[in-house]
Amino acid sequence: MSTVSTAEAEITDVTASDTAAATAAAAAGMPQSLTFAKALNTALADEMAADPAVLMFGEDVGPLGGVFRITDGLTARFGEERCFDTPLAESGIMGMAVGMAMNGMRPVVEMQFDAFAYPAFEQVVSHAAKMANRTRGKVRLPLVIRIPYAGGIGGVEHHCDSSESYYAHTPGLTVVAPATVADAYTLLREAIRLNDPVVFLEPKKLYWTKEDVDLAALRSRFDAVDSDGAPRGGSPRPGAIGTAAVARPGTDATLIAYGPSVSTALAAADAAAAEGRSLEVVDLRSIVPFDDETVTASVRRTGRAVVISEAPGFASVASEIVARVQERCFHSLAAPVLRVTGFDIPYPSPKLEHWFLPSVDRILDAVDELQWEDQ
């Protein structure tokens, strides 16, 4: 489906040039420079190698490797029965994934763009999300819906939506949004191993960011656990899904972010530090399950909070976080919990999107409003 943004073209080169160096570094067991896209690609390859029931399909994910190249090389390595193109029909992709998961497979599907996923909505909310409950746990659906997600890439209309609220509002779905290269790898492998349907939101603007990661160390975690995320022979323990990370410790206020807004929050914390204000940044990693514990512990400590999200703020994940923090941290709060979100408008055109997206300045403005005069 579609018009491809100029940003997509860039990523091809980034992933391709990375591969050789990454392979060499991994072999040497050293931290290596990896793009977010390559981390996702590696996670898929590692899970497909670990479990023959893992399949990857969607639009253009076969020989092309996906419009963002996240499935690059998978068909060549695993064969066209395990990574394949489907007819161009998102409900069909999703419905077939439900059936495959009913019958012993662990399908991973790609919705080409966030706003192209809507034809699959009924299959996601009425079937993927409800099957386990409907059948009293007899039929669990281990499937992952990968969605290139949110803005910041100059995409034309219908290529950039922040659709997380639809999914987060649907009981039965796990909703994950990585913000770092290491988490892209870890969260995707965990998502594939979960026995529930996972909506895996991949911030498009992060695809070509690079970080040094110790892939061997990340991989070793998965050698030691079974398909339910539990260490082999041990008791279940939470993994990265369901556990927020403190991306930057601080003492004066907490910035709560996920997915694409984490990097913006970190940049704001850098700028605030220069002005003498210490901001903690909490990266949710998964929206569902939501890690109340980490979030409330941080806000109780700092006494102030701003929630940052690209999605329109009305009736949003950001609204939910504000409500939860307010309910749990009321007596620790020195100021109302504020939000920096997208405006309540359809996603803007490329030349206007920077007015829509949360920016460092808007975050700092919100922090300034947290009633510091009372200190």
């Binding site: 007819p87 069909g92 419905g95 495959m100 009913m102 497979m105 034809p119 409907r134 009293r136 399950p289």
Partner: protein, 386 residues
């Protein structure tokens, strides 16, 4: 097109499928078209109609299926009565469509999969699922009461046509593992208007998976007649658009249904891919007990179908061959009554669903939020008890 096993080999079918995707499709695709009239092997008067393409099932198979037909009718009647008594929330009856229900169940092996809709209760019971577990949905205890994996029978689908895609996925997974599983996916005439119907047929054809799509055309989608649903020459004609064969069958002729569906299942098992079977039948009762059918069709319309009833024609036919006598009839009726009594007893017993189960299955591992909410409800319940 004849969906019969005397047709070209799977390889030849696969080749013709590829050919059909190319420029000479028009010249080669006519074999995918359905019969001009629905296949009929026993007419409404109970006489055998010879058909070169479809041999009549043997007497033993017909007698066994007829017994299930008697039971199916009794289940429909009993369920209607249980709605009137307030024991079922609602019942979409398949009265008049029992031949389709029985045939859909008996043409499958236990390792095959059945994908039924809300109107296919009789088919699910005929497949061997415990009746009270089947009726859990309509009783309102839970959204589905049986284990789909144990019976290879999907939960009864309430949204239209969505389950057809699940059927394609189940078949695809089995095919990838090299199993010989066939999937029979049921829907009604109204469901053929849904997008998922088209996506399912297309996916099944492109991935060449063993699914038999079985449309029970009962002429009404709640109140909307078929002519407002589709102006295709027949619903079976839709198959050719996806490169699979379509066939039409008299949906009140148990013998023809067993022959046509049996051939479609066998064809799929041999690797020849999906097909579409349209059964022409009639919904003799309202959509559900909550519906008033007199607002959109007349009693005369309905009465035209009474002489075509699937039970009476098969009874006449079997009596004519001396395969059925009054003793056997009495035995079948008594067997059906046993199931009806079992339904009455089971549904008259009070069942109190456990409110705590609301939180039990949503996730494989309960979220902290659901733990909190379960505790809240537990507290509420304990205060009520106190």
């Amino acid at each position: 097109m004849t969906i019969s096993t005397g047709n070209p080999s799977p390889q030849a079918m696969a080749d013709s499928r590829r050919d059909a995707a190319h420029s000479d499709a028009g010249a080669t695709a006519s074999h995918l078209l359905p019969s001009n009239v629905p296949v009929q092997l026993v007419d409404p008067d109970g006489h055998h109609r010879h058909d070169d393409r479809y041999p009549l099932p043997d007497g033993g198979a017909l007698l066994d299926a007829y017994a299930r037909l008697v039971t199916g009718r009794r289940i429909n009647d009993q369920a209607n009565a249980l709605v009137r008594q307030g024991r079922l929330a609602v019942y979409p009856s398949s009265h008049g469509q029992e031949a389709c229900q029985v045939a859909a169940a008996v043409v499958l092996e236990t390792t095959d999969w059945l994908f039924p809709t809300y109107r296919d209760t009789v088919a699910v019971i005929a497949r061997g699922v415990e009746p009270l577990e089947v009726l859990t949905l309509l009783r309102g205890d839970w959204h589905s009461g049986y284990d789909p994996c144990e019976h290879h029978t999907a939960p009864q689908a309430t949204p239209l046509a969505t389950q057809l895609l699940h059927a394609v996925g189940v078949a695809h997974a089995s095919k990838l593992r090299g199993e010989e599983t066939v999937v029979l996916a049921m829907c009604g005439d109204g469901a053929t208007s849904e997008g998922d119907f088209h996506e399912a047929l297309n996916f099944a054809a492109v991935f060449h998976v063993p699914v038999v799509f079985f449309v029970q055309n009962n002429e009404y989608a709640i109140s909307v007649p078929l002519k407002n649903q589709s102006v295709a020459p027949s619903l079976a004609h839709k198959a050719i658009g996806y490169g699979m064969p379509g066939e039409r069958v008299d949906g009140n002729d148990l013998a023809a249904l067993l022959a046509v569906l049996g051939a479609a299942v066998e064809r799929a098992r041999e690797g020849a891919g999906p097909s579409l079977v349209e059964a022409h039948t009639y919904r003799m009762q309202a959509h559900t007990n909550a519906d008033d059918a007199t607002r959109y069709r007349t009693q005369e319309d309905v009465e035209k179908w009474v002489p075509r009833d699937p039970l009476t024609r098969m009874r006449t036919y079997l009596h004519g061959l001396n395969l059925l006598d009054d003793d056997a009839e009495a035995r079948f009726a008594a067997d059906a009554e046993v199931i009806a009594a079992y339904m009455r007893d089971g549904l008259n017993a009070e069942v109190q669903p456990d409110p705590q189960e609301l939180f039990a299955h949503v996730y494989a591992r309960r979220t902290p939020q659901l733990e909190e909410q379960a505790a809240q409800l537990r507290d509420e319940l304990s205060r009520q008890d106190g």
